[in-house]
Point group: C2
Chain length 150, copies 2
DNA sequence: CTTGACCCTCCCATGATGGGAGGGTGGATA
DNA sequence: TATCCACCCTCCCATCATGGGAGGGTCAAG
């Protein structure tokens, strides 16, 4: 299988397939004489594992750990569970941050008449001297949102 | 006020203050003879506006629009509200994606006994041939999460 | 007049992703 | 067989918001 077919089979873009190889997330694909990468069914299975993990919001480093566990027949399921639950906590933190932002904004928007007049509580709040008025997040928070880029 | 004081007064890092200036989000600060940036109370107010907007998850480009509206005394509050609600929709989309991931992972974790045995439904699902088993997100989704970096 | 806390600019790194240039491969068709 | 087009290769650049650090200037207190 060439890289284009592998891309279709896994849902990972050609660019990303090369990138995952480059950063060592997956072992370098074999090469044909032409220099083209050649993917086996085993490779494809592994890459699908990677894509599903990405879909669940795991970062590449975490996926590397998951892959290790997956490939290690003697793993303890507890280790996998721990990794998964750690990630859940991370996702939940991000969700809480989003909730706060959404709540604040909806509250502000609800009180903005939204017509042609200039006075607007949204702007007033944003420029307020009151430190607590518009301030959810702002701690350490883990980076990242859910790309797919443009 | 020097940049360090401005940083404390606004909660924006020194690095970011310079960056916001560089990308044109805010007007270049005046300079003392020494070359040091000098911030007025007006500058500080504007920067606080910026920080609050960031806290609400607005991207820099959106903040530029908000600033324009803020500074335009003849704005229509409807424009502000539209911007805010567009952003809310964006945040809600991200939240939905997070919810799906969290839901899927919690479900999987719940069915993983999490002991020293190797069999684990989390890994099984991630490597499954079943396309639907672990697949929330994966559409266009707007970039970004909530930095503050490390 | 030294010391240390600031400030300046410039460059690099991050993470995951895409874009594109410049050039080679491979198979089908004229 | 010559040609064409889709595909592949590598290498470099951009994104977005953020921090790190080097190399060097400024300022105020001791």
């Amino acid at each position: 299988m060439n890289i284009g077919e592998a891309s279709k089979a896994t849902g990972i873009s050609v660019k990303m397939l090369r990138y995952y190889e480059e950063i060592g997330l997956v072992r370098p694909a074999l090469r044909a004489y032409s220099g083209y990468r050649v993917y086996s069914d085993k490779n494809i299975a592994m890459l699908r594992f990677v894509r599903r993990s990405r879909d669940l919001g795991f970062q590449v480093k975490q996926i590397a750990s998951l892959l290790d566990l997956w490939l290690d027949g003697s793993r303890a399921s507890a280790d996998v569970k721990t990794l998964a639950l750690d990630h859940v906590r991370d996702l939940e933190l991000r969700r809480r941050e989003l909730d706060e932002m959404i709540g604040t904004l909806q509250h502000l928007a609800r009180h903005c008449h939204g017509d042609s007049r200039p006075d607007c509580p949204i702007l007033t709040s944003l420029s307020s001297d009151d430190e607590a008025s518009a301030k959810p997040a702002r701690k350490k928070a883990s980076r990242r949102g859910f790309a797919v880029a443009g």
